[in-house]
Chain length 215, copies 2
Amino acid sequence: MPKHEGVSLSVIKRLPRYYRFLGDLLSRDVTRISSRELASLMQLTASQIRQDLNCFGGFGQQGYGYNVAALHKEIGNIMGLNKHTPMVLIGAGNLGRTIARHMDFESSGFKLVGIFDDSPRVIGQKVSSLTVQDMAGLEAFCKEQSPRAAILCIPKEVAFETAQRLMKLGVNCFWNFSHYDLSLDFEGAVVENVHLGDSLMTLCYQINAAYPEDE
Amino acid sequence: MPKHEGVSLSVIKRLPRYYRFLGDLLSRDVTRISSRELASLMQLTASQIRQDLNCFGGFGQQGYGYNVAALHKEIGNIMGLNKHTPMVLIGAGNLGRTIARHMDFESSGFKLVGIFDDSPRVIGQKVSSLTVQDMAGLEAFCKEQSPRAAILCIPKEVAFETAQRLMKLGVNCFWNFSHYDLSLDFEGAVVENVHLGDSLMTLCYQINAAYPEDE
DNA sequence: TAGATTGTTAATCGATTAACAATC
DNA sequence: TAGATTGTTAATCGATTAACAATC
């Protein structure tokens, strides 16, 4: 693999979107595409696409463009989607169970290997081929299975301590749905925050900005 | 309200986070805070905070800083969280039902007034005080209740046509969870996309970037 | 070869940071 | 008044866009 060091966050955040669009083209049997065509499809500039891709390597061919299948695969490799990083879900409430059922972990570089909660109401329930386990058994489980990543679907009040407990067990990559900015406290952790509440408020702002009249 | 026109998207995206941090401070009975203190808390620069806030007005006081309660309320007003824009949920599968139950619409500027699906398996089910209705009744419902916004928890294949159908009914603000970039096709619509799959892939990338050794 | 389109360098634009005068 | 901290202007930095030589 070529060097990916120091690629800017804005480029990284665009990778999944490139991957999605290329996947779509692929399923519609498009074999080649130029940066100009892809740009018009994705509402970007051709320059930006070429700049972005060249952070990782020269995947195109002058006078031809890009091979859709090859580029799709390359971007998948760059993101590491072919891996299966073992991942646990902490918190099997409504949101946790839905995430477990809804996401395609296998094609996103992960494998969901365990689900934990501390409420007797959900412990023992089956969620997408896994059984919800008692949080008390987390240490033993991690010793055996060595998960590297965790999904946090827990209240913000316990997010910090839970993350700390997981870090001690060698789990330092977090997909954080709790209403809490995990990244701030954890030097050395890899954190992706999903703040659904923030997203809804952003929508609210934009509606008001677009239609200020109706007070 | 003062002028918000032309505020950059990066500033807007930070507003909910400011609101969250100020809410936290408020709940811990902090009455005043300087841009420097808030900056260290949020891991921003004091300059950025003052710049951001001054897009909307001068909420601080020289030599004193900002009143936490007042600023919290101001930002809430700027985002329009005190409104109750009527909103419908389209798609009452796992994800849709969870979103309906999980989000605090009332304190985010919305009111969930209807839930729709086309599958007999979920029509008639109760979800958080609402009953899932048949998509066939969408037109009649919109005529009566005039929702302005919709949550789309539907497969990407039907996202476009569903959004189009809603636009015809006067619903042109979308909180889109479908695996599809709605914004691209709809001039005049207000769209906030939530791409959970993209987020998971971004985490995958960052894990690989941080720990490239373990192939 | 001629045409097309990339990879890459240079120019522009916008967002972040620094500085400081205004003022509470 | 003196000290602190804002609001705001100027400087810097980074990301996007434009341009073009390289090359398939």
